[in-house]
Symmetry: C2
């Protein structure tokens, strides 16, 4: 595994790496991350290593996608452990740029995705997805991958990046990958490390309420409003949790449903998306429902 910290090093490693690829599996995979890697990231790395001749992991905590009162400074970092995990999971090139390498001057250019960013984390974290779109565009141009791998825990991020890729004709296939979970259901996240023991215990309410919703949604006459109400009530049983949002939307358009409109699982696809704060730690989780909804939740 080659570790690169500058764009020049990355270019050299890519040229050398690509020159060694045989015709049969000459594609390049990219796994963009913010580091502090867990088994969810490892599953993306393994999938890319299976599907591509060369896999690049990027680790970059992107300041552009953090708001002024968010956790950019304290976001957890552990480079040594990350590199060991990358090596064990088939990474060929690890790209760890500094902020100065990625933004040598103040960037004046922003890649904006409208509409899909109006709700959920886009509403709670203004500017977040502008930062995501911009840094993912940069990484796509620097690495020029054939495929890029993203976890479905960040389902809105996947929808935004797919839309951006289609709209701008990026020559990249976006590969969404299933959310990985702890044995008790908590979705894996680098931010779980912030939780106290008591918060950690109550945090299972997110996945439990998503599971419960999977039963409720099959009740006759169920609609979005009732479903959101029941999930909200269920989450509120965890006294340490403070709800940021509970939303039932179409996926991937992220458009809301009319409250009188029936849920059509046989023909439409929906997302139930949650964001809940435990102290200053904001956790998100989601489940897709309906037509092909199970694709990402094996």
């Amino acid at each position: 595994m080659i570790v690169c910290r500058t764009i020049a090093e990355l270019r050299t490693a890519l040229i050398e790496g690509k020159s060694q690829l045989s015709g049969g599996n000459a594609s390049v995979g990219l796994v963009p991350t913010m580091g502090y890697l867990h088994e969810g990231h490892a599953s993306l790395m393994r999938k890319s290593a299976e599907e591509n001749g060369l896999t690049v992991l990027s680790i970059f905590v992107n300041p552009l996608q953090f708001g002024p009162n968010e956790d950019f400074e304290r976001y957890p970092r552990n480079e040594e452990r990350d590199l060991a995990l990358a090596e064990q999971n088939g990474i060929d090139i690890a790209f760890l740029p500094s902020v100065d390498v990625m933004y040598p001057t103040k960037p004046l250019t922003t890649v904006l995705v409208n509409q899909l960013t109006d709700r959920l984390c886009g509403a709670s974290r203004p500017g977040h997805f502008d930062g995501v779109g911009t840094v993912v565009s940069k990484l796509f141009h620097l690495v020029q991958p054939d495929r890029a791998y993203f976890g479905m825990k960040d389902a809105q991020q996947v929808a935004v990046i797919q839309q951006m890729t289609d709209d701008l004709n990026f020559p990249v296939t976006i590969v969404p990958c299933p959310t990985l979970r702890e044995p008790d259901g908590l979705a894996l996240s680098s931010r779980n490390v912030y939780l106290t023991a008591e918060q950690r215990q109550q945090a299972t309410v997110l996945s439990q309420s998503l599971d419960q919703a999977g039963e409720w949604v099959n009740e006759p006459e169920m609609n979005a409003e009732e479903l959101v109400k029941r999930v909200t009530d269920k989450i509120q049983q965890a006294p340490l949790g403070e709800i940021d949002y509970v939303e039932w939307l179409r996926y991937p358009s992220l458009q809301p449903m009319d409250s009188t409109e029936p849920i059509r699982l046989e023909s439409e696809r929906y997302i139930l998306a949650l964001a809940v704060k435990f102290g200053s730690t904001r956790l998100i989780d989601n489940h897709l429902f309906g037509s092909s909804g199970g694709d990402y939740h094996v």
Copy 2:
């Protein structure tokens, strides 16, 4: 020359074209245009054909970069003549997509370049450069050129595209090319065809005032305010012209100078940029001054 109208045709032509390139000159050049080609465009095509093994010309009148009251519908088109000129000037692949090919659904993604788009045509044509940044991003992704050629008549466009390319790490070298002119000095433009005989005659005031400014700027104690005043007075001697802007700015940052600040031709680079309407036809022209300013004006 292969003519492509769909993305699938373009992909096939690029794969075939690239497969025939030898190692020595395996690069791809792109000349993005809105068609109604003139000798200025021809000079870009010839330069690209000289520098690259494969040259792609795109012709696309991009609705996103026209305002609601601008000339999108009546923008001049002559496909047959354009294709003949392209063939004569070394084009290998001509890409002529329809609006539906470029925007099969309403695009939600915009590539915004801030700051550089606040003045000049960015101020006069709100949203214009968002449309330019977006369509150029799409063309860069579709063609994946090594070099892209742009005329310096649109100097602000060159500055915006260079900034976008740097900020987003597009793997493309931007090649600015000199403005070509009629024998009497009028900058070549597809929009010149709109001018009446009398407007056409008076339109020489743009290049004449830029030439005159080239003398005034060498006077001791000359400053931006005085220079702009003299150029404005000179243009106002053409009774059919109506000034949109006359601006003296740093280039390529397009930042204004403090009015008391001396002009430093030996160390700084500046642009004198003009936009003047003759009836409903808006003409632009510019000249670069100062350090390396002559590069594009041979």
